[in-house]
């Protein structure tokens, strides 16, 4: 009995820690954002002045319209690329389909501005593709603005749709389609009346994620948007220009962003709760082999889509090996850009690795413990904590950054300019994913296994250590690796919080691009890409986890 009591106290401590984290690092900073939004700039009195200004001025409303346009267009184009890719790779024999899915996941996980920056080098004012086309008399459209943002976002986010859809296309029970054909429906009719309705929930699920990601993306519109302001870049601009006064307008824009995100999350929850077609996986669909011209066009289409999304990454890698002299590319290839990084900013590279590592240790450790309480101890406190932990899903990085800098720039918790504040941003942004994933891993472990351990004479603590934990291990580690990758690539919150000595690689890349140092930016982006690729390889190879791990991010 003594052991049981001690254990109960440990879980109580975990739940208390969970609440403390939520209150200090979410509610407290977000409350400040609310406070400033509803306060008059001069007097500090409660007022709707900021809100009146937002809805009264075309400048602000236009940014709102831009955000919605970007998100909608990105969703539409991502579907146009993702649906055929998913269909062909899951139902027909496509040579190298593993390579295709690896490359599209790499595009998905790459830092959120590499694509944008790469498209500038190709189609920007002095881009090599633009010049190439110009030499034969073709004038390509301007890349800066809506076109560029949608292009870069689409080519980064379409894998959400293709991977989720392919996942469900591969797991529908084949007998359902056979039943339809047996009842006299042609294959096209079967596709529209049976297959599509069955996979529709994952298609809409993927589309909502794309919408959400492009809505809250900061890096891409910042680099390629030009004067085309969207809500996250507007909030950032407002914040940096309001720096002397209270961040009232930036806070208001932040709240509007969160409201948009909340609508999407509610839609997503509603959709996923409404219809679930659980499949027993008895009869997996057959992968058909295409012949002749059909096979050729299927391959062409798939490789074209994935090729297009890999192109910006390849260009970056290529540029990183070109010789430079200061900001200018010279002839020939070499490692000058890499040398420059390691001589000039070794601390930046080290910061990225160290901060992400510390954050991930915290994320995996605390996330697993809280995940355990959510999966196995449904008491009142846990039931309150569970939804609170989902708040980061609706807080875009820019908003969290503004909240942090306002709340932690004063006593009692003065963290401004420290490494801790950046680590805590990484931590809080990834914690919900880690909690969710630990809880869902636990739900997949048959409680009978733990009972078997106990029945064979092993006390509960020992059973947790020898049975439960080893079964969770690979899930926890692969989740931690994914958290590490996303933390390494974080820009939108840390750009508001860094000072010179806490600079990280994504921030440095952003600044290098602004200053025109494309060589260093490319070299550093390549390092991030390699890190991402290696992480993916490790997860795939050693933890036997497929694409679903990556899209769970």
């Amino acid at each position: 009995m003594g052991a049981g009591r001690k254990k109960a106290d440990i879980w109580a401590l975990v739940i208390f820690a969970g609440f403390a984290i939520v209150v200090v690092f979410l509610i407290y900073p977000l409350f400040d954002v609310f406070k400033y939004s509803f306060a008059d700039k001069e007097t500090g009195q409660a007022s709707f002045a900021n809100w009146k200004e937002f809805f009264g001025r075309a400048y602000y409303l236009r940014a709102f319209g831009h955000s919605i346009s970007v998100a909608l267009l990105t969703t539409v184009f991502s579907s146009l690329l993702g649906i055929p890719l998913a269909f062909f790779t899951s139902r027909y024999k496509i040579k190298g389909s593993n390579l295709l899915s690896t490359l599209s996941v790499l595009a998905l996980l790459s830092p959120p501005f590499i694509g944008a920056y790469s498209w500038i080098t190709m189609l920007g004012r002095n881009g090599f593709l633009r010049n190439l086309f110009l030499s034969v008399g073709i004038r390509l459209p301007q890349i800066y603005g809506l076109f560029g943002i949608v292009l870069a976002d689409t080519l980064q986010y379409y894998p959400f749709i293709s991977l989720m859809l392919a996942g469900s296309l591969m797991t529908i029970d084949r007998s359902l389609e056979e039943a339809s054909e047996n009842l006299g429906a042609r294959s096209l009719r079967t596709f529209f009346s049976v297959t599509m309705p069955l996979v529709l929930p994952s298609l809409t699920g993927g589309a909502l994620i794309v919408f959400m990601m492009s809505l809250s993306n900061f890096g891409t519109p910042m680099i390629i948007g030009g004067n085309y302001l969207v809500l996250p870049t507007l909030a950032y601009n407002l914040y940096t220009s309001e720096i002397a006064e209270s961040p009232g307008m930036a806070s208001t824009v932040s709240i509007i962003l969160m409201l948009c995100a909340s609508v999407i999350i509610v839609l997503q929850q509603w959709l996923s709760s409404r219809r679930k077609y659980a499949s027993m996986l008895v009869n997996r669909p057959v992968v058909k082999k295409l012949k002749g011209a059909k096979s050729f066009f299927a391959h062409l289409l798939c490789y074209l889509i994935v090729g297009l999304s890999t192109l910006p990454l390849a260009v970056i890698v290529f540029y990183s090996f070109r010789n430079t002299s200061g900001p200018v590319f010279t002839t020939g290839f070499g490692l000058t850009s890499y040398k420059q990084i390691f001589f000039d900013v070794p601390k930046t590279v080290a910061n990225s690795f160290i901060y992400s590592f510390i954050a991930v240790v915290l994320i995996a450790g605390i996330g697993t413990l809280i995940g355990f309480t959510i999966a196995r101890k449904r008491n009142l406190a846990v039931r309150i904590l569970d939804p609170l932990l989902m708040i980061p899903y609706i807080v875009p990085g820019t908003v969290l950054g503004i909240g942090f800098i306002v709340a932690f720039n004063r006593k009692p918790l003065y963290l401004a300019g420290t490494a801790a504040i950046i680590i805590m941003t990484y931590f809080i942004r990834r914690l919900p994913y880690s909690v969710r994933s630990a809880a869902s891993i636990l739900k997949q472990i048959d409680p009978a296994l733990e009972e078997a351990g106990i029945n064979l004479g092993s006390p509960p603590g020992r059973t947790f250590r020898t049975v439960t934990l080893p079964l969770m291990q690979s899930g926890i580690i692969s989740g931690a690796i994914m958290s590490w990758v996303t933390s390494m690539n974080e820009l939108s919150a840390s750009i508001l919080l860094y000072v010179g000595r806490t600079m990280t690689m994504p921030i440095k890349i952003y600044l290098s691009v602004l200053d025109g140092y494309f060589g260093t930016a490319s070299a550093m982006s390549t390092i991030l890409l390699v890190v991402t690729g290696v992480a993916m390889f490790v997860v795939n190879r050693y933890f036997n986890r497929g694409s679903e791990t990556f899209i769970a991010t």
Binding site: E451, A452, I454, N455, S458, T463, L471
Partner: protein
């Protein structure tokens, strides 16, 4: 090997009374089965013995030891789970050795016991395999070997064969039976499969609605059911509503269903008008003028099934569906559909139940 004594055990889950007034004495070395439909409480009782649930009332003894407050991991019961619960991250050897390592046995002893357990279940040579390389039947053998290796006081089986295919099920149940007998270990076995229960058990407790309906050897349960639930759950049986009439000479009584009169053995002195008369398909006989019968019935054949050793005929007898069986059937024993079939029910085949409570009338005479 140990006896199990259960005294007045009750268990509630919220509003639901999962177990009510359970009293059982399971003897040393006995193969004892809890039989009942799903949700009847049989698994709850097994898990209460294992210590995964704590009963709200009553006592459980293993041998002379009261185990109410002994945690599950100290009860030394070997459980075999429905979905095998073989540790997927361990080899066959490690699975079977798990309980022995917990007990801190010397390595030589562990090796010896694992080898002996695997031999018992015919898995010698599979030590290094991982569970994902095993079939369902093999995984369940690992589960059995693992439970036996700790030399438990009792073996507990929670529907261990329900995830296996029919052929394997028969094979495994014979194997479980022979291993249990060879080791002389007390076993409590939960199943909803009445045929499995009849074959494997020394004694059976039929459970329904959280209560024990009847305890007895398989023969007793089948031939002398205490109520209509036991009669219909175990084996096939025909039932028809009858009204009981006056007593007749020779301890007989009239029972009337429509225009059919049954002359049945006097079923107690209960003064009942409504009763349920039941007889098993295999107990009917061919019509023989000389023999004493309860009734001779005539029906229209609806379905005839030939099963090799037996032919099963389903017919309509004045609006009631009746099934009879003919053993070692000749071609002429299986008439065409729609034909009239006549048969007699011997008096001793007739069981009578209270139509309201389902209780058996005049039990003990049969």
């Amino acid at each position: 090997m140990t006896s199990i004594k259960i005294n007045g055990v009750e268990k509630r889950f919220g509003e639901l009374a999962a177990l009510s007034d359970i009293n059982l004495e399971i003897e040393k070395g006995e193969f004892f089965t809890l039989l009942g439909p799903s949700g009847c409480g049989k698994t709850t009782l097994l898990r209460t013995i294992a210590g995964f649930y704590r009963q709200d009332k009553g006592d459980i003894y293993l041998g002379d030891e009261l185990i109410n407050d002994v945690p599950a991991y100290r009860r030394n019961t070997g459980m075999v789970f429905q979905n095998y619960a073989v540790f997927p991250h361990m080899t066959v050897f490690e699975n079977v050795a798990y309980g022995l390592k917990v007990r801190k046995l010397p390595q030589a002893e562990i090796d010896k016991r694992v080898a002996a357990s695997l031999k018992n279940v015919h898995l010698t040579g599979y030590e290094a395999r991982t569970p994902d390389k095993l079939s369902g039947g093999q995984q369940q053998r690992v589960g059995l070997a693992r439970a036996m290796a700790i030399e438990p006081r009792v073996l507990l089986f929670d529907e261990p064969l329900s995830n296996l295919d029919a052929k394997l099920r028969v094979e495994m149940r014979d194997e479980i039976r022979s291993v249990q007998k060879a080791l002389g270990i007390t076993a409590v076995y939960v199943t909803h499969d009445q045929e499995e229960a009849l074959v494997i058990s020394d004694r059976i407790a039929v459970v329904n609605f959280g209560r024990i309906q009847q305890v007895g050897v398989p023969w007793e349960i089948y031939k002398n059911p205490v109520n209509l639930f036991v009669a219909t759950f175990v084996g096939k049986i025909n039932t028809m509503e009858v009204s009981l009439g006056e007593s007749r000479a020779g301890g007989m009584r009239m029972a009337k269903n429509g225009s059919v009169d049954f002359l049945v053995p006097e079923a107690g002195t209960e003064d009942l008008s409504k009763a349920v008369l039941a007889f098993r398909p295999e107990d009917v006989v061919e019509v023989d003028e000389g023999a004493q019968v309860a009734a001779t019935l005539s029906g229209t054949l609806k379905i005839a099934s030939f099963l090799g050793t037996v032919a099963s005929l389903e017919m309509d007898v004045q609006g009631t569906t009746i099934v009879i069986e003919r053993h070692r059937p000749r071609r002429s024993d299986i008439p065409d559909i729609g034909q009239k079939v006549e048969f007699s029910v011997p008096p001793e085949a007739c069981l009578l139940f209270d139509a309201a409570t389902g209780a058996r009338l005049g039990r003990g005479k049969a």
